[in-house]
């Protein structure tokens, strides 16, 4: 994997399987998980993450609110949205939402790795929303 083991990543998903899977995939990073939006927001209050990977549809506080909060409190954090709704975002409009990438479930290990790598190495200023993922 990458050398960036000091990078902190927050994984937000109500699906336990997804949280576990992502944790294992990204085991080289400092991974923390949150099972809903509320937990994620409270964690973000205490720590600044380099990358936030969040699901959209969750009970209680939704992924949308998590994104809003992240952008407000730590604008340097990169955001990757993962969702079962392939139609929510389309390739190209991720910029509009100010997120690095959108991955629709189910995605491959390769996709998530490449997106994570891209967003963490990307310069903040020219973070083009082009993602190699999207339409799986």
């Amino acid at each position: 994997m990458l050398e960036a083991s000091e990078k902190a990543i927050l994984i937000v998903d109500d699906e336990e399987v997804m949280r576990e899977f992502l944790s294992e995939v990204l085991e080289d990073f400092l991974v923390e998980t949150a099972s809903d939006g509320n937990e994620a927001i409270s964690k973000m209050k205490h720590k600044t993450y380099d990358l936030i990977i969040t699901d959209m549809k969750m009970p209680g506080v939704s992924g949308e609110e998590v994104v809003q909060f992240a952008k407000k409190t730590c604008p340097d954090s990169k955001i990757i949205v993962i969702s079962g709704y392939s139609s929510l975002f389309s390739v190209g409009n991720t910029t509009r939402f100010g997120i690095s990438a959108f991955l629709s479930k189910p995605f491959t290990i390769k996709q998530i790795r490449s997106e994570v790598e891209k967003s963490l190495t990307k310069n903040k200023k020219n973070n083009q929303g082009e993602s190699g993922a999207g339409n799986a």
């Binding site: 699906e15 399987v17 139609s87």
Partner: protein, 553 residues
Amino acid sequence: MSFLGKFRNISLREKFIIVVSLVIVSSMLIISGYLTKRQSEIYYQELVNRGQALVANVAYNAELGVILETEGDLNELLKAVARVDDIVYAQILAADGRVLTEIGSDTREGLSLFYMNAEEMPAPDRYTQKRFFDAEDIEYIEIVYPVQTRKQQLSRENLGTVFGFRDDSLAVGYETIGHIRLVVSTADLKKEINRSETASIILTLMVVFSAIIIMTAFVRIITQPIKTLVDITDQISKGDLGKTVSIDRRDEIGLLAESFNRMIESLKMSQQEIEEYNRTLEGKIIERTHELEDAQSQLIQSEKLAGIGQLAAGVAHELNNPLGGILGYAQFTLEKMQKKNIAQLTEKDYESFKKYLRDIESQTRRCKAIVQNLLRFSRSSSKVEFSEININQVLEETLTFVDHQLVMNQIGLVKELDPEMPAIQGNPGQLQQVFTNMIINALHASPAGTQMTITSRYLPPLGEFPGAIEIDFSDQGVGISEENLKKIFEPFFTTKEVGKGTGLGLSVSYGIIKDHGGEIKVKSKVGVGTTFSIIIPLEKRAAAVDKTDVEKQ
């Protein structure tokens, strides 16, 4: 009126006989009455003429007897006259009224034969007639005629003619020297008339009698076939068309029978046609009913499929979540296995693989459950099976498919599900269809940023009320106008644009809830929002079923 009524009720034959008899009797009476009267007039006149002739004759022959007053001769004269039967009394009177002679009975009771006064005596050459009746109502005619003699110039020269010769040239005039009185009885005449009356009555009766016999026979000839017709009509009216009328005649009755037979024939044919039509009609009805049922179930099915189309995104999301896990773990396993060969695999790797495979298994099961749920929803409703279900669970399952749409349309969802919901008898697939319809309808009516509230409530039994469950779907949408509110459950009524709705959703939902013994109520205010309430009563026995806590959030 009552006579007419009776007359109407008697048979044709009797009517005919009565009428014809009446005609015969009345015409006989008129004819014989006229003839009898005419005959009695003639007889009477004849009687009078004869009496007059007799009296004149006697008067002529009695001239000498009266002059000489020879009673014996005069009596002989009267006796000769009295040989005629009708003469009951005869009398010869002198000019001064003395009775010279008489024959016959003059003492009959009630008769006053000598009523004539001297003044009433007839003038010469004139009859005097009178009629009178005795106590037995027998008419008598009294005829009086003068006895005259010629006045003569008695002289010596013609003395000889006084005794023997008559010489009219000597006559200077006539002198009434007496009267002949004759009484004629009409008793014989009356008897004769009575006899002829009796004869005419007997004749009438004979004619009537023979007429009745002839008519009876004739009427039978006419009415017998009519009776046959009546009998057969009766049988036909009872539905037996097997008979025909067998009357072989060339007259009107024969023609009637012929046309009657034709009528039976065409009746038979039309009956067969009707039976045939009925038979095929039944088949046609069954066929059409089947077609209609097919069409209906196709409509319901297409409505359901339309619903599924709307659910597709939700279903995809539901499936994508576990698929994400499956794909990830499968790749992960492969990756790890490709990195090392079997000898290099550690106990830890082996444990990881087991965990991955277990996760893949459980996520696959989840996919299966989702697909089954969808299948249950889309299954044709031709066989509806009821089972014990929990409404909250059905609502949740429905929401997993549709809440994505709410998210997409930025509609907030508030769930207020009563944890104390009793189980009800129902078909989960059908109820899911109804709930989906309610939610999608609300969604289409709701502008972004509004809220939808789904409430489930248990209404416990109270007295006669067996208890019920209520599910409310409230939105803050455009609302339904009062005019449309009456029509929303009608099939094919839709306010949505062409292609967006089948117009069947609510009518199908209504039918489904009816099948569950429940009802759908609507409250709406234009610009404020709409609430659809589904109320399904508990069956009495179901009310006792344990309440299960099904809150699963």
